[in-house]
Amino acid sequence: METLMAYVVGILFASAIYMMLRRSIVKLVIGLIILSNAANLLIFAAAGMTRGAPPLIPEGATAPLGPIADPLPQALILTAIVIAFGVLAFAVVLIHRAYEVVGNDDLDQMKDTDT
């Protein structure tokens, strides 16, 4: 499954970069969303994917009974998901403000810092 995910992640990264390189700022937002999903999946797949063994310790035991999924990347991704949302919200509002001020959605026209 990890090798399959490697190809999916590659396609996701390529699509995200392509969208972020567009001059239309609205497409930049879509690129950002794809990028954060791609990054999360990258970490998830790199650590190895296990079916049906969540990193929980059963009641009464002090340690996991059998092999379970690696909890560390999950902790990393969990915060990454929430932060990606915060960053996305920030970016979307920033883009909206920029559009209102510049009056143009072409990124190449947003070159000056003083408008």
Binding site: P54, L56, L78, T79, V82, F85, G86, A89, V93
Partner: protein, 148 residues
Amino acid sequence: MIEDNKKIMKTNTLILHTAALFLLPLQLIFSVFLLLRGHDEPGGGFIAGLVASGAFVLYLFAHGVASTRNILRVEPHDLLAMGLLLGLAAMFPGLLYGEPFLTAQWWEFTLAGSEIKLSTVLIFDIGVYFAVLGTILTIVMSLTEAEE
């Protein structure tokens, strides 16, 4: 496209209106449940905070910003500040016991026959809960206010 937008914002149907009213307390209770069990079962501050903000956002869409602000009673960014402060507060007790900064402290006692576990970890998780709730409500409420 602008019509889509308006449709979503203004669909004040009776069902949504009433459902939001009843769903809000249920969702909030569920979020507290998720928060408290988070240390042992799936859940925790992040998830519970998201569930709680989902509850308020639903209410917001049904009843508008003013009404949401009314039942919240505090500004959403105050919730955010409270979350950060709780997170910070959880760091210091370790120092009092002569252990490194941030070391978790546990206070266990029995109350009315059941064992109660209090800890700085729980305080920290509650801080995360309020920080997430505050963040999302700040963003969504500012956006809807800007809309109006």
